[in-house]
């Protein structure tokens, strides 16, 4: 290893004792500005995980472009002992590694914040601000002195800055080393070179970066048994546990990693140990239409099947979604939402497919939607979706988004009860048919609107029927008679009401004191909402909060409206889609629903919610609490 002397650049930085500095322990935001494809992602993730291993919760977010190499990408880590996992907004320390975005990155720092940068090439003073602390480290020079291979020079630069930041922020280097040990188990050479790079960074910081940094990580015990995982992997694992055997998909950001994770988990968990054969089939289809077509075919034939896609894919799938609704075929569809409309913002997050999914396809259609709040619920709801699809014989949408799907999130560990068995719904067996049980494919025999079905090949002479998207009578015979059509459509409506009793129920978080104000939210808004509620309460604004977990809305949602004069509906789209759905389905006076809308493609923040609700409350007198039924 070569010795590295402090560079000119570092020396030339003016010491600035008068500048205020942010002081915070286990509660700050650090953002890494990188160039896409430079290998920064794994180093940044390592940084976040090291803090987590010190018992301090973190909430990282990848803000990436629709690009493979060259465009700007950011990784933002919120260090939060209080466990606030939503995006905070604002940046206390910027690790500015991308000249393309330098000016904006520097401008984004909070006053008194810290700018960490590669000082190999000196920059004019105009490139800095006078209300921030600047920490220059000649990363390129250090790496060029030690590594010969250009790729190594680039990759290890990332590890070197992690080493330096560890020293500056008080992260234990041993923790990072341990993580390397796990990551490069059995790959001793890689392990050694990474540890070497880490120490290059640590040593340089100890010797040269003496100006104290007010941001500190201090060991705590706030992580517990929580796991750190992305929602797409969690949903894929939920599909494994829920018994999905057929997956058909077409690559689309931000959902591709669902299918890829399903493949990965199946290769580990679903291979027959004796024969080496697969208990699953995954097809990368030619487009989204074929993907859902395969899922429909597999569902019709009694296999649990799913597809994963995003908004543009759902648009293409709508004809099939209508068929599955009308012909009553189980389908599980994971929609990892991104910014729309059209190609929109493929690498940004939104909750903007609520209406297009709830009412997907022509004619009178309504679909079951589930809204997981984090990876834990992605796992649970994915498994539940497969059960619900079979039970209800209809499409079920798992509505996640890029924020949950593609970011690692600290959440409760996955749980599974071995006593649980799959709910395969109403499938008539050969024995039941043989015993002479009446089979009317579209007949409501149980009063819940859900008919019985048979699977192809069940019985030589009984139970066969012709599945179609055209109208038919209760015995699946082609019919264009009005009464047959109405019977069927009303039964489907009844089935949808049954669905409201089977889907995950909303979660109520009552305010500490009686209030006429309510707030409704769902999905990835959850962590920011939790934090916002605490902040609002501290300001004396009390709200009962209801987290929706599914559509159709269970009765408790209507009751929530009965109990509150005014309800804020917080969502991440322009058109207040959930509000529209609530108004439309529950027949509520729209004036009582106040939209709080965040839709710039970044995850909603507590600051935004507090500001929006706080401003509204300040403008209007507090409503009296309604009499609760």
């Amino acid at each position: 290893m070569s010795a590295v002397r402090p560079p000119e650049g570092a020396k030339s930085m003016p010491p600035a004792p008068r500048i205020p500095r942010i002081e915070a322990v286990n509660d700050f935001v650090i953002k890494f500005a990188n160039v896409n494809g430079s290998g920064s992602a794994s180093a940044n993730e390592l940084f976040a995980k090291a803090i987590l291993r010190m018992g301090v919760p973190v909430s990282p977010r990848n803000i990436f472009p629709s690009n493979i190499q060259g465009l700007p990408t950011w990784y933002e880590v919120r260090v939060t002992e209080a466990g606030h996992l939503g995006r905070r907004g604002g940046t206390d320390m910027m690790v500015a590694m991308n000249p393309q975005t330098w000016d904006a990155d520097v401008a984004e720092l909070e006053p008194g914040g810290y700018l960490f940068y590669d000082s190999t090439r000196p920059l004019p003073p105009s490139k800095f601000r006078d209300d921030i602390r600047v920490i220059g480290m000649p990363l390129t020079e250090i790496c060029n002195a030690v590594y010969q291979d250009p790729r190594q020079r680039q990759l290890f630069k990332n590890i070197v800055y992690v080493g330096a930041l560890a020293i500056l922020l008080g992260i234990e280097p041993e923790v990072v080393e341990k993580l390397f040990g796990e990551q490069y188990k059995g790959k001793e050479k890689l392990l050694a070179s990474n540890v070497q790079a880490l120490h290059l960074g640590c040593d340089f910081a100890r010797e040269n970066l003496r100006d104290p940094v007010g941001l500190k990580v201090r060991r705590a015990d706030r992580v517990g048994d929580k796991i750190f995982v992305d929602g797409n992997s969690a949903a894929a694992l939920g599909c494994v546990y829920g018994g999905a055997t057929v997956a058909a998909w077409y690559p689309i950001t931000p959902s591709s990693s669902v299918a890829e994770a399903f493949q990965r988990y199946c290769s580990k968990l679903r291979v027959d140990p004796v024969t080496g054969q697969n208990r699953f089939a995954i097809v990368q289809a030619e487009d989204e239409i074929a993907s859902i077509g395969m899922v429909v075919g597999a569902g019709w034939n009694g296999a649990r099947a799913f597809t994963a896609t995003s908004g543009p894919g759902v648009s293409l799938m709508t004809e099939f979604i209508g068929l599955a609704y009308f012909a009553e075929i189980p389908v599980t569809l994971i929609n990892v939402q991104r910014g729309g409309p059209s190609t929109g913002m493929p690498t940004r997050t939104q909750q903007a497919d609520i209406l297009s999914c709830a009412y997907a396809s022509h004619g009178d259609t309504k679909h079951v939607l589930l809204f997981p709040e984090d990876p834990h619920e992605c796992f649970e709801h994915a498994a539940a979706a497969l059960d619900l699809a079979d039970r209800l014989q209809t499409p079920v949408f798992l509505m996640t988004d890029l924020d949950i799907g593609m970011n690692q999130r600290l959440c409760r560990p996955f749980a599974w009860d071995d006593a649980r068995s799959f709910d395969r719904g109403k499938v008539m067996s050969a024995e039941e048919l043989e015993a002479g049980r009446d089979f009317g494919r579209y007949k409501d025999v149980d009063g819940d609107g859900i008919p019985w079905r048979t699977l192809p090949g069940t019985h030589p002479t009984k139970g066969s029927y012709f599945t179609r998207g055209t109208t038919r009578d209760a015995y699946a015979r082609y019919s264009e008679r009005g009464p047959d059509y109405i019977y069927n459509m009303e039964r489907l409506q009844k089935k949808f009401r049954t669905a409201a009793t089977l889907v995950p129920q909303p979660v109520l978080r009552p305010a500490p004191q009686k209030t006429g104000l309510g707030v409704i939210y769902f999905g990835s808004t959850s962590p920011s909402m939790q934090e916002a509620l605490e902040l609002l309460e501290a300001d004396g604004v009390h709200l009962d909060a209801l987290r929706l977990r599914a559509f159709p809305f269970p009765d408790s949602v209507a009751q929530f409206f009965e109990a509150h004069e005014k309800v804020f509906v917080v969502e991440q789209n322009r058109d207040a889609q959930m509000r529209s759905l609530l108004v439309n389905e529950l027949d509520i006076d729209p004036a009582r629903l106040v939209p709080v809308l965040h839709f710039d493609g970044t995850p909603i923040t507590a600051r935004f919610i507090v500001q929006a609700i706080g401003a509204h409350v300040a403008r209007t007198p507090a409503p009296a609490s309604r009499e609760t039924a």
């Binding site: 024969t275 995954i282 097809v283 077509g293 395969m294 429909v296 075919g297 597999a298 996955f414 179609r468």
Partner: protein, 351 residues
């Protein structure tokens, strides 16, 4: 179509096949297509083929898209489950159904509008993947249900009933199937049942993606002079590459050979296709030669029919995906759910 219901009674001496069914057991509902429609002849050929193959009707799943052709699965194999899907998307639904249960036989019925226009992509990709199925296109060169618009298989220069000349080049599904890797490719004519029945039997017995394009004249909109999909035109220009005898693995192979070039093709399931060549040197195991032969003869205005290409040892998508022998839809939670212990280990790896 006829309005008379089919009689339930059947003649007591009606022959049964080896699994105890009469031909009548392979019928479906009464056809609602026009009298003389080629599609009804194809339904009859499917019924004949399944009866002769001793297939239990409920072991067949029949899937279709939208259009006249796609209605026909209601008119045969009434004891089979059928699925009339959406326009042009039968191949994907069949693919999914096949993945769910590899034990059934899959019959895909489609038309030229369904497969060559709106569903061309799905047709192509199902062929590429080698989904095990007998995929039959009932090809009449015209949109029947919407009353006589040209379809994409209409030949350039052919005339519609109203006298419009088609200026677009035709899509040749047989050529595409050959190029995309289908392992059994044939062309039939609904007016030639003797050729069509063994062609279908061979397709159903095939181990991979089998495709048959059946020219099936539309008596209502495309059976006039100037059409190249009319009964008269196809009869006059039909050039079969060979005569086909299908001999199931259970049949004793009777030697009843006319002089000429004979080729025996034994498929995976043991069944035998005995082909008596009508064109000297035609080799149905040579994909490229088949394409060249067909295109040469079609350029002369001929309709080349028969078994054009077969890879008798072809395998399917399940083989490529290494799926287990037991149908995926028959696996239980024990075989599918890794359980709480495995989940605890997965949780640990995420800390």
């Amino acid at each position: 179509m006829t309005y008379l219901a089919k009689p339930r009674l059947r003649h007591p001496t009606l022959a049964t096949n080896k699994v105890g069914y009469t031909r009548r057991d392979y019928e479906g509902k009464i056809s609602t297509l026009c009298a003389g429609c080629g599609h009804d002849s194809i339904s009859a050929a499917i019924i004949e083929a399944c009866w002769e193959l001793d297939i239990e009707p409920h072991r067949v799943a029949k899937l279709s898209g939208i259009g006249c052709s796609s209605k026909t699965p209601d008119y045969f194999l009434g004891a089979s489950h059928g699925f009339n899907t959406v326009h042009g998307r039968m191949p994907s639904v069949l693919t999914g159904a096949n993945l769910a249960n590899r034990d059934l036989l899959y019959l895909g019925v489609s038309g030229d509008g369904d497969s060559a226009s709106i569903g061309l992509g799905q047709f192509a990709h199902a062929m590429r993947r080698g989904v095990r199925m007998a995929y039959i296109v009932e090809n009449n060169g015209v949109y029947g249900l919407t009353k006589g618009q040209f379809s994409a298989t209409a030949d350039q220069g052919s005339k519609s009933k109203k006298g419009v000349v088609n200026s677009d080049s035709p899509v040749d599904l047989v050529a595409m199937a050959l190029q995309l890797g289908a392992s059994y490719v044939g062309r039939g004519f609904s007016g030639n049942k003797a050729q069509l029945v063994p062609l279908i039997k061979g397709a159903i017995s095939h181990g991979g993606a089998a495709f048959i394009d059946v020219i099936s004249p539309c008596v209502a909109f495309n059976n006039h002079p100037g059409s190249t999909k009319s009964y008269d035109y196809v009869r006059e220009h039909n050039e079969a590459v060979s005569r086909i005898d299908f001999i199931s693995s259970r049949d004793e192979i009777a030697i009843d050979m006319a002089p000429g070039e004979v080729m025996d093709v034994r498929q995976h399931d043991g069944s035998l296709l005995r082909l008596r060549s009508l064109h000297a040197g035609y080799d149905p195991s040579d994909r490229h030669a088949a394409m060249a032969h067909m295109q040469r003869h079609q350029a002369m205005g001929e309709v080349v029919t028969g078994l054009l290409y077969v890879d008798p040892l072809a395998t399917d998508l399940h083989n490529a995906l290494n799926t287990c022998d037991r149908p995926l839809n028959a696996l239980d939670s024990k075989q599918l759910c890794p359980g709480a212990k495995a989940l605890a280990r997965l949780n640990d790896a995420l800390r």
